[in-house]
């Protein structure tokens, strides 16, 4: 799974006329985003998935871990719209609860990335010199590590450590880890590796911007380093950050599903989509529907975030459009 953002799919629309000066970047971007049908449909899909995931207990009659041995491996029916699995659990309920996991992974990891990657890139680009050298070599080294291996190693360590700890903060985190089905390690591992792309892009943007007249003007009016970075440079990198973060979400979701698929991530009965897919494989021949729904949900969600990211890129960065 590549960390690098893929190039924007060229938009099919022609060149827009110049926006009226009264329009802000955001209203302009919003207008363009709405016009791109795949991005707009994707945004709607993600929003409805999020709503479903939040109100999960209200929309499903069965709990995600509720086993009923009278109805094991039932094909889709009125009572169980997507059927039941090998333990008689309602697949629809598990699917919707699984959306919580995928969305939480995507959002948490992106938050971590923004908290580490953006400041790192900003500081490295602004100050240059030794700080830049140090930060960027760290990024280079981490970037060339095979990321899946790295995440798995960190996760293995964290999980064993948390399980073995008694008392103190680690035990508290361990308890949380157990309640979240062993996903804390995945969160931390993914967060640690995924800030690199954002840091690189923000650094490049900052380096280009700090030469511009408006920054010079702010400096000559007595803006401190902090003010220059936060008030003048950061707002101008927001487009890059938003696009990278959006395109990073599907990657994080795929990583979590993949690690859980291998049996190294979420622990049963937590219904991670990856885990549901792996549970479906031994029964593939007799009960193919057990595979179809989690696989479709995973692909559709990832697809939606990819479309949305591409659409955001086109909307926020008119110069990149073809």
């Amino acid at each position: 799974m590549a960390q690098t953002a893929l190039p924007a799919a060229p938009a099919t629309l022609g060149q827009e006329p110049r926006a009226k000066p009264a329009k802000s970047l955001w209203s302009d971007a919003w207008r363009r985003l709405r016009r791109s049908r795949p991005a707009f449909v994707s945004a709607l899909l993600i929003a409805s998935l999020a709503v479903l995931a939040i109100v999960h207990p209200l929309v499903t009659e069965h709990g995600y871990a509720e086993q009923n041995y009278d109805v094991i491996t039932q094909p889709p029916s009125r009572e169980h719209l997507l059927g039941t699995d090998q333990l008689g659990r309602d697949i629809l309920s598990r699917l919707i609860f699984g959306a919580r996991i995928s969305l939480a992974v995507g959002l948490t990891v992106q938050t971590v990335i923004l908290l580490i990657g953006v400041p790192a890139g900003l500081v490295a680009g602004f100050y240059g010199g030794k700080i830049d050298m140090l930060l960027m070599r760290t990024v280079d080294v981490l970037y060339s590590l095979p990321s899946l291996l790295f995440v798995i190693v960190i996760m293995t360590f964290l999980r064993a450590k948390l399980q073995a700890s008694q008392g103190g903060i680690t035990a508290a985190i361990g308890a949380l880890d157990e309640r979240t089905g062993g996903l804390i390690g995945v969160f931390i591992g993914l967060g640690l590796i995924s800030w690199l792309t954002v840091a690189r892009l923000v650094r490049a943007q900052t380096m280009a911007l700090k030469q511009k007249e408006f920054v010079e003007a702010a400096r000559s009016l007595g803006a401190t380093d902090r003010e220059t970075m936060l008030r003048h440079l950061l707002p101008n990198t927001v487009a890059v950050i938003v696009v990278t973060a959006t395109l990073g979400i599907p990657l994080a979701i795929l990583y979590e599903a993949g690690i859980s698929f291998l049996g190294l991530g979420a622990t049963p009965p937590m219904p991670s989509w990856g885990l549901m897919i792996s549970e479906a494989i031994p029964n593939l021949r007799a009960y193919p529907y057990m595979l179809v729904s989690p696989a479709l949900a995973l692909s559709a969600t990832v697809l939606a975030f990819n479309f949305l990211g591409d659409g955001l890129r086109d909307a926020l960065d008119p110069w990149m459009r073809r």
Partner: protein, 308 residues
């Protein structure tokens, strides 16, 4: 300039590999538990002590760190805890070639699908063919290899009985179809996307217009003039794609029971076989880093416009 770039790029390999080793080594050694105390019936304390001494685990950590590094450089990755009679090197020797062969076939398939898809998309820009090609590639990017592999097993093996449901028989047996295609889909999609956008750029250049103006056949223009130049930027993603294929084999090998290194890696993690984890991470990390280095160094040779 050129020389310093090469030297700097090669030198970066060492801190990278050292960081990989150091991180993995200390994480694995700091991880509590092991294959011995995880079993239902724990071994007596005396036996555990003896095992530790036999594996050198009673020495100070920094000594183990240096000693293992020295051995690993010579290709000796130590014993496996779970498979007592085999060393990590033995396991790697039998399983790594399988993964490499699978990866090579997958790369070939990816190129055969990806390049034509990208070229067709660019040549028929904004027609239904282009949209279809784009759609196929975006679906390829969004679908994990294990889903593709299981769907292929379901259709090709269970329904149509064209191939067996799992296993490995070398690259010329029908068993290769499912893992190779499943592993190839993601890189194919990435290659298609890059080829398409790169072709679109090139088709707009003056030299392509000149080639058309002097009356060359369309096929000659596309292949000899456009494609040749359009492929240059595509090569840059080869490194990334290769790393994906190598780690993607974890999933495909697990689904299709291919006895490659990915499957051993996954098994060694669930079995807490730390030397195997350490050895596998080092080996795969080195292979991927060296591949990336080669791609980076080759690129300016292929494209003379890029100085180092």
């Amino acid at each position: 300039m050129r020389r310093t770039y090469v030297i700097r790029r090669v030198l970066l390999l060492f801190p990278t590999l050292l960081a990989l080793y150091t991180l993995t080594f200390f994480l694995m050694h700091a991880t509590p538990g092991g294959p011995w105390d995880s079993s239902e019936k724990p071994l007596p304390a005396a036996v555990q002590e003896q095992l530790k001494r036999a594996y050198g685990l009673d020495k100070p950590l920094w000594r183990q760190y240096v000693a293992y590094l020295g051995k690993a450089v010579q290709g000796d990755f130590g014993p496996s805890y779970a498979q007592r009679s085999r060393t990590v090197t033995d396991i790697v020797k039998t399983s790594f070639p399988v993964s490499l062969k699978l990866a090579a076939v997958a790369m070939l398939v990816a190129t055969l699908i990806g390049l034509p898809l990208g070229i067709v998309g660019a040549l028929r820009h904004n027609t239904w063919l282009d949209h279809l090609a784009t759609f196929v590639s975006i679906v390829g990017i969004s679908t994990p290899s294990y889903v593709v592999a299981s769907l292929l097993v379901l259709i090709l093996a269970s329904q149509l009985h064209l191939v067996p449901t799992g296993g490995w028989d070398g690259i010329f047996s029908p068993r290769i179809v499912v893992p190779a295609v499943a592993l190839a889909l993601y890189p194919a999609a990435v290659l298609a996307r890059y080829t398409r956008s790169s072709m679109l750029d090139v088709l707009r250049t003056d030299y392509v217009r000149t080639a058309r103006a002097k009356g060359l056949r369309e096929g000659a223009v596309v292949v000899a003039h456009a494609l040749k130049n359009a492929l240059l930027p595509v090569i840059t993603v080869a490194g990334i794609v290769l790393a994906d294929v190598m780690t993607g084999s974890f999933f495909v090998e697990t689904v299709y029971q291919v006895p490659g290194i990915g499957r051993f890696f996954v098994q060694s993690i669930s079995g807490r076989d730390y030397p195997v984890i350490l050895g596998t991470v080092l080996l795969l990390g080195t292979v991927i880093s060296v591949m990336n280095l080669i791609v980076d160094l080759l690129y300016p040779l292929i494209d003379p416009r890029i100085g180092f």
